[in-house]
């Protein structure tokens, strides 16, 4: 049974009608990320996002970007690990298998990785079909995890649910986008996102600090100031059939872009392949439509627990519990009314 059937179409109820498109998404395969940060640069350039911070070194391996935010819509994480941590990661991945995680389809049905350039095949072809040693060039002593993080374009997006102005909307591609001219910067979405992605743009500049010594900050320096900002999955490129800037620039195809369904299938095939190679630390993040956010649009393949990469281990969109919260608020309000009534009935003059 393929689990892809159980995915909910996030834009189904939105009256896109004949403009509706297949859901688009990413598959970010961190096992082949080389940490070049080309995606970060491409995203900044295409979207003309201001710089963050003041070019400080953050003392976190080669990550001097820090985190996703209003001005950073792709963020490459770097984690250095020793043998103990590798062993632990391998073990925790193995445990996921023994827990009977859902969705193990028949391996034969795996498509030959649509769009995923498989280095082994390529090499084999180059060498004239000669069989090669396919073991990844890893040592057991240390490893470097690199992962390009991005907005998850959740099936049930917390940011979108709580936005009071309707600035955040679900596109015909099933992605989540902010309309900068509608957002009033209330900041509710920032609290609503379980992944800490979206942020209000309160600062930033399009010029490097070094170039504006003593210069007054001019209004145009900061587009969409005071509004919430995050990855649009390059909506502007998507509507004309282009690949998002980050995916297009990725030299290793670590960032794959396409129909969400294909992305999930590719991801499932890839994690099975890595497990077959003994890399039991590999696991998918966000490929389960039954998780707390209904699955995500940008699926990841990780090589350790999600929190190691700064991702929440069990995110849950708060709106799922909203009916109970409203019920509690209603009861509380009724109680308050009753309390005031009692206060007047119980006190004579």
């Amino acid at each position: 049974m393929s689990r892809t059937a159980a995915w909910e179409d996030p834009s189904a109820e939105l009256h896109w009608e004949d403009q509706a498109q297949p859901r688009k998404g990413f598959f970010t395969d961190t096992s082949i990320c080389i940490g070049c940060k080309a995606c970060e640069v491409a995203c900044k350039e295409w979207n003309r996002n201001p710089t963050d911070g003041s070019f400080e070194l953050l003392e976190s391996s080669y990550d001097n970007t820090g985190a996703l935010g209003a001005n950073t819509w792709r963020h490459v994480a770097f984690v250095e690990q020793d043998r103990d941590r590798i062993t632990a990661a391998r073990e925790s991945g193995r445990q996921l298998v023994s827990l009977g995680m859902p969705g193990v389809g028949p391996p034969e049905s795996a498509p030959s990785a649509g769009g995923a350039a498989e280095p082994p095949d390529l090499l084999a072809a180059l060498e004239g079909g000669e069989q090669m040693d396919l073991t990844p060039p890893d040592t057991d002593e240390f490893r470097w995890l690199m992962s390009s993080d991005v907005c998850k374009h959740c099936t049930h997006a917390g940011c979108l649910d709580v936005c009071p102005t309707g600035a955040l909307f679900r596109t015909e591609f099933g992605t989540v986008v902010v309309q900068a001219d509608v957002c009033n910067g209330c900041g509710t979405c920032v609290a609503g996102c379980p992944f800490g992605v979206i942020e209000r743009r309160d600062d930033g500049t399009v010029h490097p600090k070094a170039e504006r010594e003593g210069a007054q900050r001019v209004e145009q320096d900061i587009p969409h100031q005071g509004t919430a900002n995050k990855c649009t999955l390059c909506y502007d490129r998507m509507v004309v059939g282009e690949t998002p800037a980050c995916a297009k620039t990725c030299p290793t195809t670590s960032i794959k872009y396409g129909d969400h369904e294909d992305m999930v299938e590719t991801a499932e095939a890839r994690v099975r392949e890595l497990h077959d190679r003994g890399m039991t630390e590999a696991r998918l993040y966000g490929a389960n439509p039954d998780d707390g956010v209904g699955g995500i649009g940008s699926v990841f393949l990780l090589l350790d627990e999600p929190e190691v990469y700064g991702l929440p281990p069990d995110p849950r969109v708060a709106t799922k519990d909203l009916p109970q919260m409203y019920a509690a608020a209603g009861l509380a309000a009724a109680g308050m009314l009753a309390g005031v009534a009692a206060a007047f009935l119980g006190s004579r003059r």
């Binding site: 070194l57 003392e59 391996s61 990550d63 984690v79 690990q81 941590r85 991945g93 827990l99 995680m101 859902p102 917390g158 709580v162 009071p164 102005t165 309707g166 600035a167 009033n184 900041g187 920032v190 609290a191 996102c193 379980p194 992944f195 800490g196 942020e199 309160d202 005071g226 919430a228 499932e268 696991r283 993040y285 490929a287 389960n288 998780d291 707390g292 956010v293 995500i296 999600p306 929190e307 190691v308 700064g310 991702l311 929440p312 281990p313 069990d314 708060a318 909203l322 919260m325 509690a328 608020a329 509380a332 009724a334 308050m336 005031v340 206060a343 007047f344 006190s347 004579r348 003059r349």
Partner: protein
């Protein structure tokens, strides 16, 4: 990572700021590239792998809400409770209580609205809040409640103000309309007053902020309790004791609800979700809020019929309510800043589900 077994022999580097290192204690084994190689401390860090995080950086982001929002939470509750008191006074013919409660409601509401607008990234777009009605957004519903409440409370207070000034407001023919509308308007505001006081609990809870989300079953009760004691206290300050009786009862009920609900809320939280409510500045605020609420409640029971003690008790109650709101707001903001508050409760609930045999809803899968 670059630790070796010889690291512990390296001399300790003294110029290193201790706090910074402690900040990054839970990093899952790494070392700053720029030196500061303190092997022994690195080793203890690895021995204590409670959970790992990405260089101690936050997982969820705190909303950009300043103290304006705390003020709004407090003033909204005060306004809602006062409108209820005003309506009761209106129905039972307590004119002095009605007047002061209506004026309190309108003033608090105006202040709260200004605070809410001031906190926006684009204040000039405040009215965009009314572009749509969205049930999934407590902020949207709340703005509608606030607007409806504002209309009612505004009319009622305008009529009061007109009476206070001896009919000197330049109203012209509108005066008769105003005084005809004040009764229904006051009752309308009262109907929306209770939801205005309680919805802010949902506004905070319907988020990914650990401490707020964890408080979702109890926060509305805490907030209506807090609103009750604040508006009761305000009535005791602004009305003669002869008419403030309902305010005193409401204040005492509010104290009980606030204290009990807060205790139950704390008891229901994971220790890591609770910590920000008990430690640091927010912890101090919440603690003092409880003390002042109880003191004010006791003062109300014992001395509520004597004006000076009534005013003192009222002040204690109003302060307690403000402290509760600021404390809860800041505790949530703090809980977003340290990843342990996000990661540990999530890992715990994931493990609990797995232990119960539920494995189908994990975000991490293998295939």
């Amino acid at each position: 990572m670059t630790t070796s077994e010889f690291d512990s022999y390296r001399p300790e580097e003294s110029g290193r700021a201790f706090g910074r290192r402690r900040d990054r204690r839970r990093r899952g084994g790494r070392r700053g590239r720029g030196g500061g190689a303190d092997g022994s401390r690195e080793m203890t860090m690895v021995e204590d792998p409670q959970f790992s995080s990405y260089y101690g950086r936050q997982v969820v982001k705190a909303p950009p809400w300043g103290h304006e929002i705390g003020a709004y939470l407090f003033l909204g509750g005060l306004a809602g409770g006062s409108a209820l008191l005003a309506a009761g006074a209106q129905l039972t013919g307590r004119t002095r209580l009605r007047r002061s409660a209506r004026l309190t409601a309108a003033t608090a509401l105006a202040g709260g609205t200004v605070a809410l607008i001031a906190d926006l990234g684009r204040p000039e777009r405040f009215l965009y809040m009314l572009r749509t009605v969205k049930v999934t957004s407590p902020m949207s519903l709340g703005t509608w409640i606030l607007s409806g409440f504002g209309a009612g409370a505004g009319v009622a207070a305008a009529a009061e103000a007109d009476r206070v000034t001896g009919g000197r407001l330049p109203l012209g023919p509108l005066r008769r309309l105003l005084h005809a509308a004040e009764g229904p308007a006051g009752l309308g505001a009262a109907v929306l007053g209770a939801p205005l006081a309680s919805y802010t609990g949902v506004l905070l809870s319907n988020t990914a902020i650990p401490t707020w989300y964890a408080s979702r079953h109890h926060l509305p009760y805490v907030f209506v309790g807090s609103a009750g004691l604040a508006s009761g206290g305000a009535a005791m300050i602004t009305s003669p004791v002869r008419e403030a009786g309902p305010g005193r009862v409401l204040a005492c009920l509010g104290v009980v609800v606030d204290v009990v609900a807060m205790e139950r809320m704390k008891a229901s939280m994971h220790p890591m979700e609770l910590e920000p409510l008990e430690e640091g500045a927010p912890g101090t605020m919440v603690k003092w809020a409880e003390r002042l609420a109880i003191a004010g409640g006791v003062g109300t029971v014992l001395g509520g019929r004597w004006r000076p003690t009534a005013v003192l008790s009222g002040l204690a109650l109003v302060t307690a309510s403000a402290l509760t709101r600021f404390g809860v707001l800041d505790a949530g903001l703090d809980s977003a800043k340290d990843p342990k508050h996000t990661i540990e409760p999530q890992k715990a609930r994931l493990a609990a589900r797995r232990a119960a045999g539920i494995t189908g809803d994990s975000i991490t899968t293998v295939g």
